[in-house]
């Protein structure tokens, strides 16, 4: 009972944040509402007994990724989203289509997914076990993702650095080496 209460409260917060993300016209507000969504999701994870996931959710998503977003928003000093006329087609088909689709999906989930209750904290994810899984069963994906992250870092550096500055750095290096 209490769990259902907690679930519904944070679920509502979640949905509210998501909707707010759509409604808000300023990216920074959207970002903050997304942070809210993530925080409440972390609580949902806790409710599901995935403490580690919850913590990582907060640290990585809310604490790192979203900070990055905010940082970029501040850096580019992104202002209000300017109004450009949306296509009428989207208005005509998009919204009803979305509504129908979501209703359909919700109905299907409610009807056809296992209605077995999920005990709160049903699956305590001790970090030890998760680490075991990561480094044994999922070793290859783990390594692959590490490579992916490396590539991502390099790509980000190259993309975000001024071309000119890259030139300078390389030339300087040439000088140093030569």
């Amino acid at each position: 009972m209490l769990h259902l209460l907690v679930f519904s409260v944070f679920g509502l917060v979640c949905v509210a944040g998501a909707v707010n993300l759509l409604v808000q016209r300023h990216p920074i507000n959207s970002a903050l509402s997304l942070v809210v969504v993530m925080g409440s999701l972390a609580v949902e994870y806790l409710l599901l007994g995935a403490e580690f996931v919850a913590a990582v959710q907060v640290i990585v998503y809310a604490g790192a990724i979203m900070v990055l977003f905010v940082f970029v928003i501040m850096l580019l000093n992104a202002g209000e989203e300017e109004r450009t006329k949306g296509s009428r087609v989207a208005m005509l088909f998009g919204i009803p289509g979305m509504l129908i689709g979501s209703v359909l999906v919700a109905w299907v989930l409610l009807e056809h997914s296992g209605t077995g209750n999920v005990a709160t904290g049903a699956l305590p994810g001790p970090p030890k076990v998760i680490g075991w899984l990561l480094f044994h069963d999922f070793l290859l994906p783990f390594e692959v993702t590490s490579v992916l992250v490396l590539i991502a870092i390099m790509g980000a550096v190259v993309l975000a650095s001024h071309p000119g500055s890259v030139e300078q750095r390389s030339t300087q290096q040439d000088k140093r080496e030569g």
């Binding site: 296509s87 999906v105 056809h112």
Partner: protein
């Protein structure tokens, strides 16, 4: 048991010469080239003579199989050579006359560009002609048949820079195609019904068949088709038109290919497949009629021609007509006999004409000649012999053969007095236009521009713009070099004595090859044969007929003398008197124009309108263009999806995902 004769060497020797000259001739000196050409063709002649020497000891026909060419099921074609009396005669004629003409050409073409080309073509022709003659099956024969066509095309268009020559070559080739078409169909029919193309098998099968006296059947069809081929190759009506134009080629070529050998291939083929014709009286009749008409037709045209070579060309056609008359009345031996003698004197005539042209410096119009007999006596005398021979004066060769043909035309079971009458009239015409040529060329006084102005004349001459047959400009009318005279003399001797064999002996000699006598009077043939007009009075009427034909020849001579020697102005009056008919004859009855209007133009228009515009442009090209255009338009419409607007892309993605999800839901909840 016959010794291995290595018959295959005979065709192959000239081929080697052709290959050598054709591939490396550019670097050889003229001496080397002529040495090679003469050497190999001479070697072929020597082999032919050697074979002839031991001929009596051979068991005929002797067939030498070299290799298997085609084997499809039980149908088989071999590279095999077939030697019997008939092919021996052809062999000797081809190699002999060919060799002589080679010698002559060395002198005639000495100054020409493309010397090596000429001789390699000439040897190539020899190769194909000998293949044709020696082939032991129709297919190999057909190879030679096509090959000589190719060689003649190459040689007619030897001066390919000259438009008329090139087009003449093409004309010859195309017209021959028509005949070859018939020939091919005949071969297909044989394959279908006899399952073989080898002479022996075909003839054995055919011999078993009854004659198609009434109503045309398979054999008639084959015969007619073969005749079509023969008409194409041997310039018979209606396919003769290429031969006069073929005179664009160098004179030796005209002599060798278009007088002596190639054009007689049709006659040879008909004679070779006499077994078929013997059992197809209708076909025989067609052959005879065609021959007769051609003889008369060409002779009349020949009367009015002023170009010396054209006159000879039409006379060739008409003589070929004689040969076909001979074959058409189942007197093949007579036809072949005339073929041989004709090869001698007509070759000689052409060579002599070439010598004359050579003498007057490229002039071919007889009206610009005259009085040459003092300047070029050798040519004069040899030509005289030839003229008398073709005119059919005894004891020249032409007399015997033509007389045999006329007699057979009258007396043979297939013959009739109509053939004979027309033949005689043609003989009269022949002697008339030949002597007309003779008088115009050698008597009276020289009518061409003064010999001094020969070069001017050359410049403005009929060969303007093309390499003249001889640019050696040492002025004055002059006798040809010895190397050209030797063949003349030899051929003159032959055309005098060639006929002394006598048609009976010739007939006997050839009898085993083409049992003309046997087939003619074999009982079943006799049953179906059209009854010979009272064979009793043979003896009497033969002498009579002979005298009549002699008379015709003499009267021809007299008339020519009267018109062109005695009263030179008379021809114009006659021409005026005849009026339009004369014009028609001068313009060769407008046959070329008619053909152009009836066949060529519709063909060109049809292929232009229907094939090119209609099909190629409006269907094929249009298909491609329209498909490309359609693709362009479709993509033009589609590219608006590529709005460059990120969110529209996202919309497409979302729509697709929605569809997939809906499908999955449907599948899952079903």
């Amino acid at each position: 048991m016959t010794p291995n004769l290595h018959l295959w060497l005979i065709p192959v020797l000239p081929l080697v010469g052709a290959a050598l000259n054709g591939l490396f001739g550019k670097r050889f000196s003229r001496q080397t080239i002529s040495a090679i050409a003469l050497g190999f063709s001479g070697a072929a002649l020597v082999m032919a003579l050697w074979i002839a020497a031991q001929f009596s000891s051979l068991t005929l026909p002797c067939i030498e199989t070299l290799a298997t060419w085609i084997r499809a099921g039980d149908f088989q074609v071999d590279f095999a050579f077939y030697l019997d009396q008939l092919s021996l005669v052809m062999l000797l004629v081809v190699t002999g006359v060919g060799f002589l003409i080679h010698i002559y050409s060395v002198g005639y073409m000495w100054e020409e560009g493309g010397f090596y080309r000429f001789f390699s073509y000439l040897n190539l022709f020899m190769f194909f002609m000998l293949t044709l003659v020696l082939a032991s099956n129709y297919l190999l024969m057909f190879i030679g048949w096509e090959g000589v066509g190719l060689a003649s095309y190459l040689l007619i268009g030897f001066w390919f820079t000259k438009d008329s020559a090139a087009s003449a070559g093409k004309k010859a080739f195309i017209v021959n195609r028509i005949g070859d078409f018939g020939f091919l169909i005949a071969l297909f029919l044989m394959i279908k019904h006899f399952g073989s193309l080898n002479f022996e098998q075909v003839f054995r099968i055919v011999s078993g068949l009854p004659a198609e006296a009434t109503g045309a059947g398979l054999l008639t069809a084959i015969g007619l088709l073969l005749m079509v081929g023969a008409a194409g190759k041997s310039a018979q009506l209606p396919l003769y038109v290429w031969l006069p134009d073929a005179m664009e080629g160098p004179t030796p070529v005209s002599a060798l290919i278009h007088a002596a050998t190639m054009v007689t291939a049709g006659v040879y083929m008909v004679a070779r497949s006499h077994v078929v014709f013997d059992r197809a009286p209708q076909a025989l009749m067609v052959v005879a009629i065609v021959g007769t008409l051609t003889a008369l037709f060409a002779a009349t045209i020949g009367v009015c021609q002023t170009d010396i070579k054209k006159v000879l060309a039409y006379s060739t056609i008409s003589q070929l007509g004689y040969m076909f008359i001979g074959c058409g009345v189942a007197a093949y031996s007579a036809g072949i006999f005339h073929l041989m003698t004709h090869a001698f004197f007509k070759g000689l005539l052409f060579l002599a004409a070439g010598s004359v042209i050579h003498a007057v410096g490229g002039e071919q119009d007889m009206r610009r000649m005259g009085g040459l007999r003092h300047h070029i006596p050798w040519t004069f005398w040899t030509m005289t012999a030839a003229t008398f021979a073709i005119a059919g004066f005894p004891p020249f060769a032409g007399f015997f053969s033509k007389d045999a043909i006329l007699w057979q035309a009258y007396s043979s079971p297939y013959g009739s007095w109509v053939y004979w009458a027309i033949g005689v009239f043609t003989a009269f015409l022949t002697s008339f236009y030949m002597f007309r040529l003779w008088f115009l060329t050698f008597f009276g006084e020289y009518r061409g521009e003064a010999a001094a102005s020969e070069h001017v004349h050359l410049a403005g001459g009929s060969r303007a713009g093309a390499p003249a047959p001889h640019e050696h400009g040492h002025g004055g009318i002059h006798e040809s070099p010895t190397v050209m005279l030797i063949p003349l003399v030899i051929l003159a001797v032959l055309s005098i004595c060639g006929g002394w064999v006598g048609s009976e002996r010739f007939d006997k000699f050839l009898a085993p090859a083409l049992h003309s006598g046997v087939t003619a009077y074999s009982p079943e043939q006799a049953a179906v044969a059209t009854p010979a007009p009272e064979p009793r009075e043979h003896g009497a009427s033969e002498g009579l007929l002979t005298s009549i034909s002699i008379l015709a020849a003499v009267s021809g001579l007299f008339l020519a003398w009267l018109l062109y020697q005695r009263r030179p102005q008379l021809p114009q009056e006659i021409a005026h008197a005849l009026g339009s008919f004369y014009d028609a004859v001068v313009h060769k009855y407008y046959v070329d124009e008619i053909y152009a209007a009836v066949f060529v133009k519709p063909l060109i228009d049809g292929s232009t309108r229907i094939l090119w515009h209609g099909i190629d442009r409006d269907v094929i090209d249009a298909t491609l263009d329209n498909s490309a255009e359609g693709a362009r338009e479709v993509s033009d419409a589609m590219r608006h999806m590529q709005s460059g607007n990120l969110r529209s892309y996202a919309g497409w993605i979302a729509a697709g995902a929605a569809v997939v999800i809906a499908y999955m839901i449907w599948m899952g909840t079903r």
